[in-house]
């Protein structure tokens, strides 16, 4: 069966099941007797096993099978849940996770898991119980992997058997073509020609017809009989160009037969249990009415839809010009329908933050164990929705902040008891919407940030001067721990760092158009609060004009706009500057920077239109010809061809269908 089409679904679903396993194991640790949890774990493991066996990932299947056996034994009351078991179970799930990751990275999900398998077997047997089910030995698996060929018919087997008796060698050859290979079919043809000179091809996977029609990824396998040595064959194949890798292993008939039997057994096993599962589902009546859609397709939909909006704009214009009542009504109706459609398309990209939050409990458990601390997690607002693009980016900064909170925030057990706090520290993760933003807060009830220490360190590192230090508010002091240069790799302080400073977190969040603030009370704990835009694909901009060209400047970087008389422009060391609210701000003439064609009769205006932008605490005044106005636009990339374009961060499509470039003002501030 060709399963490649199901691969993404398989990976997604596997990850979901792993998530369930992790969460339920965490729950089980707290309530070892709860049968509902045990049932849930058993179900997840069982489904995962079935799926992976169907997809041909035997290591994954056999390890889940072991896991399932343990829970089967628990369910039947043969063994009971002990706290030391949990670690082994977590380790097993970690392995499963790695295998799935390997598969999603293009591997075959194989892994040596003998140690965990042994431990699981011990668990399953408890003290005296003999194991009842026939099992697949996972420990044998690694040896089998090199042989991938399946469904070898009897005829081929006979040939292989005979050739072996006659003293020829059977090989299984896997050939991987380079990814950029243009005519795969032609390559295959050339390789076959080489092979046919050296021996005989018994079978290929995919079939010869499929290979000729290029219906394969980049790898194919052939069963090959030859009297030549492995090395000779290798060299000859490698003479063909555009080949990435050639792997030749002797083909062992006996082993192959064993493996075939095993997988058949496994398949039968599943056949019966699958049915049970569906029954359970239907009796519960919980149907998940969702479909998975590739985000690229949503992007295409969005692009097409924008085109429609552009046309809608034209229609509205036409209808107004023609002054036809019926036409106007129709166009108006269409406008309403299409704006509804637009909001639906936007919400389709939204996913609950649960996806990110869910991986934290187990991570927190792990970190807490490493550091020998007691931490409880509280998650609030996991259903809060965020744009997919934001979700993908926000995981890492959060991980960093959480580790930081456990490492430096929450005190060790004894210290907490001494301070009269509960011995379990609490880490609260909270997400909520407010206006056009999402807030994510990470709150701990730990030691808090020591103001004096931060100040002293910031001064000693030269981040701020002593004079500046006196003017700072408490919050500004806390935020110093996120400034670059505060924490360095060679010095792990007791306030920040695990080597990497929090400045990375701050940068990432700012690059997403967000903000991070810190609040803290000595011995009471700290709150890191992150504010993010709902979506990265829509931003607010100020549209400006340079002659006939239109550009957009993101509002997030604009301080304000001003109109200044030529006479107020001053010269300071070959640079034109203005006095802006008591500060000297240099001017950047966008017409010159962007080399905009000036009409011959261009008259100099007595007034300059200036957009004051900031980068950190530096400011620059961008001189433009005129302001058009503020607008929400959909951010688009310039594509893979135009990378690193100076001072341009992207583009957007305006209401009239024309493209306007988005100015990256950061590049214009020195």
């Amino acid at each position: 069966m060709d399963t490649s089409g199901y691969l993404t679904v398989f990976i997604d679903e596997s990850n979901e099941h792993l998530e369930v396993l992790y969460n339920q194991l965490l729950a089980l640790e707290k309530q070892p007797e709860e049968t509902a949890i045990i049932e849930e774990i058993f179900r997840a493991a069982h489904t995962l096993k079935g799926m992976s066996a169907t997809m041909g990932y035997h290591d994954l299947a056999s390890l889940t099978h072991k896991l399932e056996n343990v829970f089967d034994a628990i369910k039947e009351g043969k063994i009971s849940v002990q706290s030391e078991m949990i670690d082994v179970l977590f380790a097993a799930v970690d392995y499963l996770h790695e295998m799935v990751e390997d598969i999603s990275a293009g591997g075959n999900g194989s892994k040596d898991v003998t140690d965990v398998v042994e431990q699981l077997k011990c668990l399953e047997q408890g003290e005296t119980l003999p194991h009842e089910k026939p099992q697949l030995e996972a420990s044998q698996e690694p040896a089998v992997h090199s042989q991938q060929m399946k469904n070898i018919d009897e005829f081929a087997m006979t040939i292989l058997q005979e050739s072996k008796e006659r003293g020829y060698t059977n090989y299984e050859i896997s050939i991987t073509l380079k990814e950029d290979c243009l005519l795969k079919g032609a390559r295959v043809f050339m390789i076959f020609e080489v092979l046919e000179k050296l021996g005989e091809i018994v079978k290929s996977d995919p079939s010869v017809t499929e290979l000729e029609e290029e219906q394969f990824d980049h790898t194919f396998t052939v069963l090959f009989i030859s009297e030549h040595k492995k090395e000779t064959i290798q060299i000859n194949i490698e003479k063909v160009s555009e080949i990435e890798a050639v792997e030749i292993v002797p083909f062992n008939i006996e082993q192959h037969q064993e493996k075939e039997q095993d997988s058949r057994k496994l398949a039968e096993n599943q056949g019966t249990t699958k049915v049970k599962e569906t029954k359970q589902r239907s009796s519960k009546g919980v149907a998940n009415k969702t479909i998975r859609v590739n985000i690229d397709r949503l992007d295409v939909l969005m692009n097409l839809f924008e085109e429609l909006v552009v046309d809608r704009g034209r229609l509205e214009q036409l209808a107004a010009d023609l002054d036809n009542k019926d036409l106007q009504d129709t166009v108006e109706h269409m406008s309403r329908v299409s704006s509804d459609l637009q909001s639906i398309i936007l919400t389709m990209r939204m996913v609950p933050i649960e996806q990110v939050f869910n991986r934290f409990p187990r991570m927190i458990r792990q970190v807490a164990r490493e550091l020998n601390k007691q931490v409880e997690v509280e998650i609030i607002g996991a259903e809060t929705e965020l744009d997919r693009t934001v979700i993908d980016e926000i995981g890492d900064p959060l991980v960093h902040l959480i580790r930081n909170a456990i490492d430096h925030g929450i005190e060790a057990k004894e210290a907490r008891i001494n301070k009269g706090k509960p011995e379990y520290g609490t880490l609260k993760l909270e997400a909520y919407h407010s206006g056009n933003h999402v807030f994510i807060e990470i709150e701990d009830d730990g030691a808090g940030i020591h103001k004096e220490k931060v100040l002293n360190k910031a001064i000693s590192k030269g981040v701020i001067s002593e004079g500046q230090a006196e003017l700072l508010s408490d919050q500004q002091i806390f935020e110093l721990i996120m400034s670059s240069g505060f924490s360095t790799a060679d010095q792990v302080s007791d306030i920040s760092g695990r080597g990497v400073g929090l400045d990375v977190v701050k940068n990432t969040i700012e690059s997403l158009g967000g903000k991070i603030t810190i609040d803290s009370k000595q011995d009471r704990g700290s709150v890191f609060s992150i504010q993010l835009p709902l979506t990265l694909s829509i931003i607010s901009v100020l549209l400006i004009e340079l002659q006939k060209e239109k550009y957009a400047i993101p509002l997030s970087s604009i301080i304000e706009t001003a109109i200044v008389h030529q006479d107020e422009v001053m010269h300071a060391h070959h640079t034109k500057v203005i006095d802006f609210r008591g500060k000297v701000v240099p001017l950047a003439f966008l017409n010159d920077i962007f080399a905009v064609k000036q009409p011959a009769d261009a008259e100099t205006n007595a007034y300059l239109s200036i957009v004051i932008v900031k980068k950190g605490n530096k400011m620059v005044g961008l001189v433009v010809d005129s302001f058009i106005g503020q607008q929400e636009v959909v951010l688009k990339s310039l594509g893979n061809y135009l990378t690193n374009t100076f001072a341009i961060s992207g583009a957007t499509i305006l209401g009239d269908g024309e493209v306007a470039l988005i100015i990256d003002s950061n590049a214009l501030v020195k």
């Binding site: 061809y641 135009l642 374009t645 499509i653």
Partner: protein, 156 residues
């Protein structure tokens, strides 16, 4: 590099000045009439800017300028050929897009050392069909960065 067993190669033929060029049909997404182009400042001369191709912002290069030919005004027969190469989607402005034809592989000869004044690296070969001479382009080479850098340095 190409070794097509079928023996024929389907190409799109287009005109630049007096010469006819050909690009493999697999690399062509569509052929568009001229649409407004937004200039992108501080890019190579031959980068004309970006267009709105059905909601996708697509860069456009002027193939005449890319090949060091003289620039001409665009007219009714000018076309933008959208090509896909190495994950890049780029529009090429050409004088006219003539037709789609099959070229027998056997008619394709390697590129002569020098064709006019154009650096011949992005020319994969030439094909002589009756009285027509087609110049086959290697699109990767036409678009790759390294080549562009070279060209920039030559032009100053």
């Amino acid at each position: 590099m190409e070794n097509n067993m079928s023996g024929n190669r389907k190409v799109i033929v287009f005109q630049l000045g007096e010469e006819e060029y050909a690009v493999s049909v697999q690399q062509v997404g569509s052929i568009e009439r001229l649409i407004p182009i937004t200039r992108v400042p501080q890019t190579a001369d031959f980068v004309k800017g970006v267009i709105n191709l059905r909601g996708v912002v697509t860069p456009v290069i002027d193939l005449r300028l890319r090949f060091g030919m003289e620039e001409t005004d665009y007219n009714d027969s000018s076309r933008i050929i959208i090509v896909f190469v190495d994950n890049m989607e780029v529009g090429l402005v050409v004088d006219a897009a003539n037709d789609v034809i099959d070229i027998p592989e056997s008619k394709i000869e390697p590129a002569p050392e020098v064709i006019g004044t154009v650096d011949a690296k992005y020319i994969e070969g030439v094909a002589k069909l009756e009285d027509r001479l087609l110049i086959l382009l290697n699109m990767q080479k036409v678009l790759t960065e390294e080549e562009m850098e070279e060209l920039k340095s030559v032009e100053g």
